[in-house]
Each structure stands twice: as structure tokens, then as C-alpha cells.
Point group: C2
Chain length 422, copies 2
């Protein structure tokens, strides 16, 4: 048993932070939380305590949508909308990951920087390349950080240098599954890029794999108006973009993440609710690529699960704290836009999306309730804490003003995670 | 004469960066730029050169709207709209600046942190308090950083602890003018808080001071729907909110800054253009307080001057680089909203607003053209520069991913500015 003492904040529900000033959390040998306490119970009095003093102890961040091979393009080239941006900047960069040396150099930086910003659980798009995808999974494993890694399938409207056939995708997907056999912290996720990149045969093959291996699925949905119009042309039989995934067994038949959903409404919203498909909200990306503002309050009202994603390199920053910030801000612009009809999100709601809601895709992750895997960050906000703020205000201030400098310890499933070697 | 060598980027026009790889800038004894050169001319060959190697050399940032006494609330308490937010969080904090010791503690941090983020020219709201306002001006002066400091007038709809009479405002304003007599880098600016806080008598007195002393003016305009409706009640004779300032001689009769302008259109837009009133765009604040999205492309199309402001503590971060980022992003949401009718801003346009456009309020500031005051930052982006980016992409990456860590030198009017003591 390990006992940590600090100022503890987490969100068992979206409604409010649970706050324990100078409290304790007990973590068992499996890395699971036994309990949080204001006073240690008698049964734990004999255990040694690691005291983090006046620092904050919070659940670590979960990033449920990020393109690892777009890492080089982070923070540049945001002068186009989605479809021309993919062709001009993104596909050429992803093509480079055929070269395993290039992939290793960049993926090591990527995993190290996820560590820096306090993301301990990641769902990542890789590329079509088997070797690089296995490497990315290995790097997460070596780091001791939780992840789902997606080898990408794309066989239409894609450059030759970045296309795989259905057979190649199936072969390489099975190789990745095999490669991760027996792993539990790092797992595969089926990753058709998006409908415009995948023929019906490709989507059919993915639906079969999902069923056969009972694997989760991730893709993109209703990000941009041109994309939606294009999908309508490509899949005229579908009632909506989401239905184009549903018809192939890729929309909640197994746990499913759909990034963006800026324009999801009506039938598509109904299907997401019915099949409990996750919206992965990527507000930085939606701003940078001029996509639009996803109706997160509406999703929450309807009971559609929502998580957060950095979406590098549509998103410009890897930190989920920054994504929390934008989630709040975009919800406020939606509020202004709706003349106050759609209440904006609170800090505890956005924090919940980044921790317990996103974490639920991995199991019992993202909270400090008993039985949850202990994924945590220790925040030393001394340099930001200039004037007697209360604990929720300290966390708010860290969210808006802090960066990697204040994160002084990281834990994943009970283990302290050291800086990965680049 | 001083000669600096580095990778030089600046924006003589909004359309594009002028980029000089490993170029030179010559700065004379008065701190004015003599010229930028790819090769040093013969006349300068004998001068010693300070070589910044592969670093970037860019104009320093100009922040044209920031509330210095709200510094403690930066990054917290963003759960309300403007009017209740003022009463709940802002006015109580500003009231504390009656205590000069509190003011000194906080203003020292404020000026030091402006230094940190690379802002060398600031137009700041202070409070109603004479002593604290003079102190803030002194701190800028001691630091060697350019500023305009506004002692605030507010005599209605304000708490007793934060109200001054017209006579008090005039007396204290004259004292501040006197205090800054002969100063040139730090100057006073007339600062009626906003129409709801100022009676017609207060606004009349400001108009007289503006004329008598030929002083610039700053205030707030059309930030929020409730505020606009309130001004309509308070000033029924005015054709629009802007006209309520114009009628008192506070809308371009002397150089004028109006923060926000989220809902400015029609007659108000026409008046701003006619009187060349500056919009100070504060996109972080407009997000955080759920105010809305200012139509910056429309202002630029119409020839209304635009500058940028951090608007602490409505805005959450002091860095104008972050404000550039949000300026781009909000313009992209406007673009999406207009279905592509209002083109989004480019990086060079937003950088121009933060430097040469904002700088023009101070004189010839914000560019490296001959005769401009040499306000500059040296950026060591080595840790962000991972893969052979070109110079504009390096600046873009710094804008989106960098922070104070990469700013290694700061200049204001030709002088290197050291870290101010807190």
C-alpha cells in the first residue's frame, strides 16, 4: 500500500470538484485507489506516507484523439480548411513514417511530450505503416503510459504513398493485435481514417475485425461542412454521416470514438445517443481549421458521452489542460450565440470530460474513487499561487496559466512515470 | 550605433512578413532603427556586431488594453458574464488598491510579468486611486518599458469603495499629468471606465480634459449585449453606444482606444471609421466572459484601426502571442459562421495588429523600418525547432507553442530591458 498526502481534487460527477485539503489517497499494490481520506483510518496509520505538502494532486489527463505522425506539424500550417490541409500538409508528413528511423525520432519526442504535459492515457492515430505503428505502441509500453494505438486504413482519395489495400490493412492490423497480445496498458484500436478515405470494402473489413476481435473503433465525424457534403456524395444510401459508419458495424457496436461532431444534430445525434458513441471534442483543432463549434452542451443534455482530444496537428498544443480551457471558451461562445439558451460548461464539467469521462474508455480511470486505477499528477503551483486562492481557484489558475513546469510527478496505474528517453 | 545580427522578421504591412535570414539591424544612439540589411553596407562595416546566431529577432509586443489592478484575478473566476462579473469579482479586487502597499506588491508582479511575456508597450487601466496610479507609472518608468497609464473615473453604478466624484477625478488626473510631466516613454491616458460607470457630468469633465491637455482616451465599447441594452437606457439621446462617447468629445477627437467592439456595426462602425477610433480586440476576454466574437475582418475591410489587448483579468493570459493565436482562431470561427464570406486573418495580419498597428498608438513603434523605435525580442526557439522549419513557420510555432522561456532578450526604444525587481 502507498499513501500520498496532498491537496486532492477530482470530479466523481461533472457537477463539482471533490476537494480534500491536505488529504490522503491510499493506492494498493495493483495501482488501484483504496480510498481518499481527510484523516487516515486506523487501519492505515502504520503505513508510511509520501507527503507532497501544499501541492495539488489531481487525476492525470486523457487525450482521446491525437495524430502521432502529425507531430512535426504541430503549431504550423494552419492557413487552410480540413480537406486541402490534409492534402497539402498532413498526408505528405504521414508518408514519411514508412521510414522507421524517422518514425522513431519523432514518436519518441511525441511520447516524451505527452508525458511532459501530464497525459497518461492516449488514444492515437498512427499511420498505415505496420512497423511504425508497432513501434509507437512499444514506446508507450516502455514509458509505462496507457494508450490505444490505431494503425490507419485508407484506400481512396489518398496519395499512393499513403494508401493501403484492404488486405494490407487486415494483415497489418492483425500483426499489431498479435504484437500487443497479452498487453493491457497498451492496446490496439481499429482506425478507419474517415469515410472519404475508406471504400465500402475497407469499412466492411473493419466491421468484421471489430466483431471478430471485439475491438474498439475510432474515426472522424462531421468535422467540416465540405467533408459532410462529400460524404453525402460518397455514401448516398446513408441517412447521415454517422449512419455510414453504423451500416458497417463501426458506430457503437463496439466502444467507439468519433472525433469532432461539430455539425452533428437530428438523426446523427439520435444514433450517437442510442449507440453511446463518444464525441471526442477537439476545440483547438476546430478553431485552427475553421471547422466550427461542436454543440457540447447539447450532447451532454442528450446523454451522449463526451471526451477531449488535442488532435495534433489540427490542434496546436498537446496539453489537455489547454483543451479544457478551449472547451470552456467555446461553450461560452455557443452560449453567446444562443443568446443564453445553451448554458456554458463549468470548470468541473470540463475537467470531468478530460478525466473521468475520457478515462472511462480505458476502464476505471480518471477519478480517485475506490477501485479506480491511480493515474495522477502532482502540481507545484507555487509560482502561480500568489495570493491565497482556494483550492478550486488554484486548479483553475493552473489550467489557464500553467504549463509543464508545474507538473512535478506523474503516475499511471499506481506507478510513477519517469521522463521517457528521446 | 549598435548592430544586431539574427533572423529578422517583421510586418511593414499586414500582407506578409519581411524576412531576413541572418540579417542585420542598425540602431542609433536615440534607439531608432537606421535600417535592416542582408549585408551590412560599407558605412557600417567598422561597427561591432552583436550576433544572436540562429535566434529570431522580432518587434516586441504591444498590449493596448489591460487592467493592471485585476492582476490577482488572472486565470480565475470566469463563471459569470461581464456585468455580474464586475460586481462580484472585479470591483472588490480593485477597491484594494487604496492600500498602496497592496498596490505595490501586485503592480510590481504585473510589470515584471509583462516583461516576461515580451510586452514592451502597454496601455493600462489603473484604478481611481491617485497614489497607486502614480506608482504604476513609476514602475513602468523604472523598468524602462513604454506605457500609458489611466487613472479611472467612475461615479455611478459603482460600489462606494470604488467611486470618485468628478472633482476628485479631475484633481487626481491633473496630479497624474503633473507627475508624468516631461516623461515621454510613460504617459497618462484619460480613462472613463465605461458609460454605465460615468455620469454625463463625468464624461463632460473628461471631454474637457482631453481638449485642454490634448490627451488620448481609452474606454470600453459594445462588449456584451446586456451592457449595450443598459447604455441605451442610460443615454437615450445617443444614436448608438459609440455616439455616447462622441457627444462628450471622447471618440476620436483625440486618439482613442475602445476595447472589445464585439457588436459594433452600422452607425457605430461608421463613426469609428470616420473618427479613426481604434478597436482593441481582446479575444481571450471575449471568450472567457461569454461576450461574443468581434468582427475584426469587417473592421479591417472598413479601414478602422485595430490593435490587440490581453484584457487581464477578463483575459486569462498576459501574453500577446496568445492573443495573436486567439485572434486567428476567432477569425476562423467567424469565417465558418459566415460560411466563408469573411476571410479569416493570416498570421502576418495578426502579428501586424500586435506590433505595427498597436505600436502606432505610441508613435513609430512596432516595426523595424527606418526611424522606428527599436522595440524588439530575441527568441531562442531551439527547443521548439525540431525539424528544419522555415523562418515564418518558426515564428508561427513560437506563437502557438512558445512561452516566456524562449524570450532571451528584450529591448524598448533601443535599450535592453532587464527583469524588473518584484
Amino acid at each position: 500500500m502507498k499513501i500520498y498526502r496532498a491537496n486532492i481534487l477530482f470530479t466523481p460527477t461533472p457537477k463539482a470538484f471533490e476537494v480534500i485539503e491536505h488529504g490522503y489517497v491510499a493506492v494498493d499494490e495493483k495501482g488501484l485507489v483504496q480510498g481518499v481520506y481527510q484523516q487516515l483510518p486506523d487501519s492505515l496509520q502504520a503505513e508510511p506516507v509520501v507527503d507532497f505538502g501544499d501541492k495539488l494532486l489531481i487525476p492525470a489527463m486523457c487525450d482521446l484523439h491525437v495524430h502521432a505522425p502529425q507531430y512535426r506539424n504541430q503549431g504550423i500550417a494552419m492557413d487552410l480548411e480540413l480537406l486541402p490541409w490534409l492534402n497539402t500538409y498532413t498526408f505528405p508528413e504521414e508518408s514519411k513514417y514508412k521510414d522507421i528511423r524517422y518514425a522513431e525520432k519523432m514518436y519518441r519526442r511525441f511520447v516524451r511530450d505527452l508525458w511532459r504535459v501530464g497525459t497518461m492515457r492516449t488514444v492515437a492515430f498512427a499511420t498505415i505503416h505496420r512497423e511504425a505503428s508497432c513501434l509507437l505502441a512499444d514506446l508507450f509500453k516502455q514509458a509505462g503510459m496507457g494508450a490505444m494505438v490505431g494503425l490507419v486504413g485508407m484506400n481512396r482519395n489518398s496519395p499512393d504513398t499513403l494508401s493501403n489495400s484492404v488486405d494490407e490493412m487486415v494483415r497489418d492490423q492483425k500483426a499489431l493485435i498479435e504484437h500487443l497480445q497479452g498487453q493491457d496498458l497498451v492496446r490496439p484500436i481499429l482506425t478507419p481514417r474517415f469515410v472519404p478515405s475508406c471504400t465500402p470494402e475497407m469499412l466492411t473489413a473493419y466491421g468484421k475485425l471489430a466483431k471478430e476481435y471485439n475491438l474498439p473503433v475510432q474515426s472522424h465525424l462531421s468535422e467540416n461542412r465540405s467533408e459532410i457534403a462529400w460524404v453525402k456524395e460518397l455514401e448516398p444510401e446513408s441517412t447521415c454521416y454517422g449512419d455510414a459508419y453504423l451500416r458497417y458495424g463501426l458506430f457503437g457496436q463496439t466502444p467507439t470514438l468519433m472525433a469532432h461532431c461539430c455539425y452533428t444534430a437530428g438523426e446523427e445525434l439520435r444514433l450517437m445517443k442510442k449507440h453511446q458513441v463518444f464525441v471526442v471534442h477537439c476545440p483547438t483543432s476546430n478553431c485552427n481549421l475553421a471547422s466550427g463549434m461542436a454543440p457540447i452542451r447539447t450532447f451532454l443534455n442528450e446523454g451522449v458521452p463526451v471526451a477531449l482530444g488535442s488532435d495534433i496537428s489540427g490542434g496546436h498544443h498537446l496539453s489537455i489542460f489547454q483543451v479544457i480551457q478551449y472547451t470552456l471558451q467555446i461553450s461560452k461562445l455557443k452560449y453567446a450565440d444562443s443568446q443564453g439558451q445553451l448554458p456554458f460548461l463549468t470548470l468541473s464539467e470540463a475537467f470531468y470530460l478530460a478525466t473521468k469521462s475520457g478515462g472511462s474508455f480505458f476502464g476505471k480511470v480518471g477519478s480517485f474513487e475506490p477501485g479506480y486505477e491511480f493515474d495522477a499528477l502532482v502540481i507545484d503551483d507555487n509560482d502561480l499561487h500568489i495570493d491565497n486562492y482556494d483550492l478550486p481557484h488554484r486548479l483553475e489558475r493552473y489550467t489557464y496559466l500553467g504549463d509543464d513546469r508545474q507538473i512535478v510527478k506523474r503516475f499511471c496505474r499506481g506507478q510513477e512515470v519517469e521522463e521517457p528517453r528521446v
